[in-house]
Symmetry: C2
Subunit: 151 residues, 2 copies
DNA sequence: CATTTACGTTTACGCATGTAAACAATAAGG
DNA sequence: CCTTATTGTTTACATGCGTAAACGTAAATG
C-alpha cells in the first residue's frame, strides 16, 4: 500500500488545515480544530474530514500517540506554493510572465530587504536573460502567432 | 435579469476556452472547437458546454450573427490573471510574498526588457517599502506570532 | 422539397470539494 | 465500573467541474 504521492493537489479548504500544520510543525487535531473553528467558523467535523483527506492523499503524516495522532506536514509549504504558482504561469503566454510578475510586485507591500534581494536576483538573471522570451502557446490560443505571417 | 458578475471564477477547462477567445478577440464556436479539439483532444460537445457555461457566468459575450454566435471576452485576461495570482497570496503569510516573487523570478525565463522593467518598478517601490511587512495571518496559522512572546 | 449539416440547448454522469452528522472506540472522571 | 468526553472513521449530501451524448432547429445542399 502507500503510493507515494509526489504532489497531491491541495484544495482551498485543505490549505487552511495545512497552514496550521505548517505553522506548528506538530499538532493534534484538537489544535487544528480550534484554530479553524475560530478563523473559518468550521464545525469540528469539517476539520476532521479535511485532516483525514490530507492524510489519505499523503500531504500529512501521522504519528500515533496513545489513542490520538500527532499530525505533521509531509510536503513543504514552499513546494506547495510553487506548484500553485506554476499553475498560473501555465495559463498564460510565456511572453507575459514578466508582466505578471510586474503586476504582482506593484500590488504588494515589500520590505526594503525584499526589494534588495529581488534586485540581486534580477542582477543575476541578466546572465541568463534572452532577447525575447518565446511563446509556447498552442496555435489559436495566443496572438503571438499572428506575427508569423506568410506560410 | 442578468446579474453582473464582476469576477466569475474561471476553471481550468474554461480557461482553455478563454485563451482562444482572448487571442482572437471575436470567434465563432467553430474556431474554439477546432482549436481545442487539437490542443486538448476535446470532443465538440465538451467545448460547447464550456462556452455555454462561460456565457452563463458572464465571462463571455455573444453577438448573434445569423443563426450563430460570435463570442467575445467580457473580462480581460489581465484581470483574470490578477485574480488568480491574488489567490496565491491569500494563502501565504504576507511576510513571505517577497520570497515567493523571488522563486517565481528564479524559475522563469525573462527577457532583458523584462528585467529592466522590473528593476524600474522595484526602484519605485522603494518609496513605499516598509521596514518589515506585517503578518496578517490568523493566530495559529503562521509562526510569526511566536515572536510576540509575553502576553 | 428532402436530407444532411451545423450549431446552440438540455440532459447526463462520475468524481472532487465543502460542509457536516453519525458512529465507534477508547480514555477520563466520578 | 458506568458515564461522559475525546478523537478517529464512516456516511451523507449538495454543488462544482470535466467530459460528453442527445436533441431541436435552422441552414445548406442535392
Amino acid at each position: 500500500m502507500s503510493t507515494i504521492v509526489v504532489n497531491p493537489h491541495i484544495t482551498d479548504a485543505e490549505w487552511e488545515v495545512m497552514r496550521v500544520v505548517w505553522a506548528n510543525i506538530r499538532v493534534t487535531s484538537k489544535e487544528v480544530i480550534s484554530t479553524l473553528e475560530e478563523k473559518m467558523d468550521w464545525k469540528q467535523a469539517t476539520t476532521k474530514t479535511l485532516l483525514g483527506r490530507l492524510v489519505e492523499k499523503g500531504a500529512l503524516n501521522t504519528e500515533q500517540e496513545g489513542r490520538k495522532y500527532i499530525y505533521s506536514a509531509n510536503i513543504e509549504e514552499k513546494e506547495a506554493v510553487i506548484s500553485f504558482t506554476n499553475d498560473i504561469f501555465d495559463r498564460i503566454c510565456r511572453k507575459n510572465v514578466g508582466n505578471v510578475i510586474e503586476s504582482i510586485i506593484k500590488d504588494h507591500t515589500l520590505s526594503f530587504d525584499d526589494i534588495q534581494r529581488l534586485e540581486e536576483i534580477l542582477e543575476m538573471k541578466k546572465a541568463f536573460a534572452v532577447e525575447e522570451v518565446d511563446c509556447q502557446c498552442a496555435e489559436g490560443q495566443c496572438d503571438c502567432h499572428l506575427h508569423h505571417h506568410g506560410e
